[in-house]
């Protein structure tokens, strides 16, 4: 863990969950934390960490992945919400798939690399938003009839599960982010969001945020 800051504690803020969703999916959780960071090229220490992670992940891990408790919990949740996890892969499975396909985890930028490291190491699904473009607290809810989604011409289908702030949908759960709400070159503060489902311990969410936050601050 060379190059990581010593004095930093993640302070995850629990997100709100729409009562309908909470009733149907006990265990559905969202936690977030905000850090000051920019989406630039990853420093050498972070890229080295990514390379070292690539060396630790091989075909055997990829094959056994779906039997491990946390990846399995996400696969189950995908089935519960109508997604086929072999078509729309769970976040960690998509990363491992890319690792097998590309031969290594490709470095993209500081934020994406930090998310990759945390998701592969802990298995929890993470997202990043531009914290300055989030209004109020963040949570999970169902989309309303005719609700618009930035960057998309047609409205969202009613009842789509979305990550939202107090005014609008920021992203579709486990899918795309609304245009302008994600992290880009203008971002100065990054909101890291961990989404937990039944079977994923709360501590894993905190750990994932800590790993990602630490990597971001490296």
């Amino acid at each position: 863990m060379e190059g990581l800051p010593d004095e930093w504690e993640v302070a995850p803020e629990p997100g709100w969950i729409d009562p309908t969703l909470a009733e149907e999916f006990p265990g559905l959780l969202l936690a977030s934390t905000v850090l000051e960071s920019e989406s630039r090229r990853s420093p050498e220490a972070l890229r080295e960490r990514l390379r070292s992670l690539s060396d630790r992940i091989g075909g055997a891990q990829a094959i056994q992945l779906r039997q491990q408790p946390i990846p399995w919990a996400y696969r189950v949740f995908f089935r519960h919400i109508g997604l086929d996890p072999d078509t729309t892969r769970t976040p960690v499975e998509q990363l491992i798939f890319d690792r097998m396909h590309d031969g290594s985890f490709k470095s993209r930028n500081r934020v994406e690399d930090a998310l990759t490291i945390a998701m592969v190491e802990v298995g929890v699904a993470l997202r990043a938003f531009d914290a300055d473009r989030v209004d109020g607290r963040i949570g999970l809810r169902l989309s309303r009839e005719g609700e618009r989604f930035e960057g998309r011409v047609s409205p969202l289908a009613e009842g789509t599960i979305v990550v939202a702030d107090e005014n609008r949908a920021l992203g579709i759960i486990f899918d795309r982010t609304a245009e302008g709400r994600g992290v880009d070159k203008r971002t100065e503060r990054v909101m890291l969001v961990a989404i937990g489902v039944r079977g994923v311990p709360d501590i894993a969410l905190e750990e994932a945020l800590w790993v990602a936050g630490s990597a971001l601050r490296a």
């Binding site: 399995w72 919990a73 995908f78 919400i81 086929d84 169902l142 009842g159 039944r198």
Partner: protein, 183 residues
């Protein structure tokens, strides 16, 4: 461990499900809270079944390696959204059907592989009866490129004199050539 998770995370919901007969729909004009509660319990029960089936399928996926050509796909229903009881039943039924298919494919593969293992033993004990027969690791469900090949000893001489043997290959070729010299 996953079974423990299933028990600890889902059983509480399922145990709370009412044991009475539930009508297929609420009586006209009576959109009762009782009916909604029964539907919710049914959905929770279906989700528990789906979770258990997903685990079975995941284990089948792990045990199938390195066999190829087995279809593990179970199509989704379009989401992410809340699924109704009918839709959850569809997911469960598709998973159940896929598990059966995969199980059958694995049984068939295991039978063929067992026969191929016997063939290797027979080849080794009497190579001349299995001229030019070749069995690969994939034929016995093992990873790697090793193969057993009944070939004549000393090439044409063995061929003429009927001296046969089983040659075992030394494995896969290297994935890449020799490393270039350091500059």
């Amino acid at each position: 461990m996953l079974e423990e998770l299933l028990e600890s995370t889902e059983a509480d919901v399922v145990q709370g499900a009412p044991q009475r007969d539930v009508p297929p729909a609420p009586p006209d004009g009576l959109d009762t809270a009782l009916f909604q509660s029964d539907e919710r319990a049914a959905r929770a029960d279906l989700r528990r079944q789906i979770a258990a089936m997903e685990l079975v399928l995941a284990r089948q996926f792990g045990s199938a390696f390195p066999r190829t050509g087995i279809d593990f796909a179970v199509s989704g229903l379009g989401g992410p959204r809340l699924l109704s009881v009918d839709e959850l039943e569809q997911v469960r039924d598709r998973l159940a059907a896929r598990i059966q298919d995969v199980s059958r494919s694995l049984d068939d593969a295991a039978y063929v592989e067992e026969r191929n293992r016997e063939l290797i033993e027979e080849m080794a004990s009497d190579p001349a009866s299995y001229k030019w027969v070749r069995v690969n690791n994939a034929d016995i469900g093992e990873p790697g490129c090793k193969h057993w090949h009944a070939t004549p000893k000393w090439g044409p001489i063995g061929l003429l004199l009927g001296w046969w043997r089983v040659k075992i290959s030394s494995g896969c070729p290297l994935a890449e050539g020799q490393r270039p010299p350091n500059p």
